[in-house]
């Protein structure tokens, strides 16, 4: 095997300050993840951050729960431009909360979660390229299918599936526990595949 071949990862220009971080010892964070901002970033046990995921804490504190998977090209804590007019009254300031992911949240490729006390509930999957606006509250075990746009300040009840440009239905399959187990298995595999380098961000 040609072990000489290396991954092509063009250097990332490090924009802005290095944020204070609080990592659990069991997390997996890729070397090429991007952490920036001034407010603290907390990542709880066994969460996985893929390469090129971007976590921006300039709009407030970012908290990632247990066993979350943040895929590549995700932006957590994006400063929303579209929603600045309709942002709720808890406008992001210095010590505010920007984004909170509860446990077992999966954020898929290219999704964007805006800053402004945005909350994603336990076991929710945010699909590829979705956008969750500032201050939105997404309930537990929801599924946001790809390219879903959740408006700033809106709320999504528990077990909702958002699909087809904003149509909603309730997930009555009752597979929440199984899905969580599946995520745990996936994390077991990812921990072996993604070279983790938490010390880079300390």
């Amino acid at each position: 095997m040609s072990s000489k071949r290396h991954s092509i990862l063009p250097p990332i220009s490090q924009p802005g300050p290095k944020p204070p971080v609080q990592f659990s010892s069991t997390i997996t964070i890729a070397d090429s993840a991007i952490l920036t901002g001034t407010n603290p970033i907390t990542i709880a046990t066994e969460s996985v951050i893929h390469p090129r995921a971007k976590i921006e804490s300039s709009g407030g504190r970012i908290t990632i729960g247990r066993r979350c998977v943040v895929h590549e090209r995700v932006t957590l804590g994006a400063i929303g431009n579209s929603s600045s007019s309709q942002r709720p009254n808890n406008v992001t300031g210095g010590g505010e909360t920007a984004v909170t992911l509860a446990d077992y949240v999966t954020v898929e490729v290219g999704a964007s979660i805006e800053a402004g006390d945005t909350y994603i509930g336990e076991g929710t999957t945010v699909g590829v390229g979705s956008k969750v606006g500032a201050g939105a509250v997404v309930g537990k075990h929801c599924t946001l299918t790809p390219h879903t746009h959740i408006r700033a300040g809106s709320s999504v009840p528990d077990f909702t599936v958002v699909y087809s440009n904003g149509m909603r239905r309730t997930d009555k399959r009752g597979v929440a526990e199984l899905k969580n187990k599946g995520v745990a298995r996936q994390i077991d595999v990812l921990r072996r595949m993604i070279p983790s380098n938490p010390s880079k961000f300390m």
């Binding site: 095997m1 040609s2 072990s3 071949r5 290396h6 991954s7 092509i8 990862l9 063009p10 090429s32 390469p51 090129r52 590549e72 090209r73 490729v109 290219g110 699909g127 590829v128 390229g129 299918t145 790809p146 390219h147 699909y163 087809s164 440009n165 599946g182 298995r185 996936q186 077991d188 595999v189 072996r192 595949m193 993604i194």
Partner: protein, 199 residues
């Protein structure tokens, strides 16, 4: 860094692949390019997500060496700016594993598309901002219009046009229309000394 003075935007390999220097390829040793494939800047390919469970004697594909290909791409494929290819993953016999992503020849992937298919046939056109869900199968001569979301596990038959969110079959490729899928000319228009597109 480079001893050769002209340092082009693309790396051109002996087999004719043109890989942009600004592309993000993770786990390159598990990515197979068939030749004459164009990878534009900001493309991301996740070759590090390899299969973690080898299939038992049923397929016997590996033989002595385990087959570790995560992403296999055929000839004359064109991956536009910002596209992302990643192998699909699922639970198999109680354990999680990624499965290889296979792509045929003359596959065009539009800008910003995310592909997590199990297999894509030959002469497939995928538009811009398309999402192909995990373990979807696209057969030969399929046209996927811009902004389509192909749900996981969908099988798209040959010579169909799909669009929508979720994707639905909206038409067929007309007779004789399959020549539009040729990507040889498009291949020549990019690279370090590109030829202009034919009129």
């Amino acid at each position: 860094m480079s001893r050769r003075p002209p340092r082009g935007e693309y790396i051109e390999t002996d087999t004719g692949n043109k890989v942009a220097r600004k592309a993000t390829l993770v786990g390159t040793q598990n990515i197979m390019l068939g030749g004459k494939t164009v990878i534009q800047p900001e493309v991301m390919i996740r070759g590090d997500l390899v299969r973690s469970i080898q299939s038992s004697s049923t397929s016997s594909s590996g033989g002595a060496t385990p087959n570790n290909t995560a992403v296999a791409i055929g000839r004359y494929c064109f991956l536009s700016r910002g596209a992302c290819l990643r192998p699909p993953g699922r639970l198999y016999k109680g354990a999680f594993t990624y499965m290889p992503l296979r792509m045929g020849d003359h596959v065009f992937v539009g800008p910003g598309s995310v592909i997590q298919a199990a297999s894509i046939g030959s002469h497939v056109y995928i538009g811009a901002r398309v999402v192909v869900g995990e373990f979807a199968i696209l057969k030969d001569y399929v046209r996927v219009l811009d902004g389509t979301v192909i749900p996981p596990n969908m099988v798209v038959p040959s010579f169909t046009i799909v669009a929508g969110q979720p994707a639905r079959v909206i038409g067929e490729v007309p007779e004789g229309g399959h020549e539009a899928f040729e990507l040889r000319d498009l291949y020549k228009t990019v690279g370090n000394n590109p030829h202009p597109a034919p009129a």
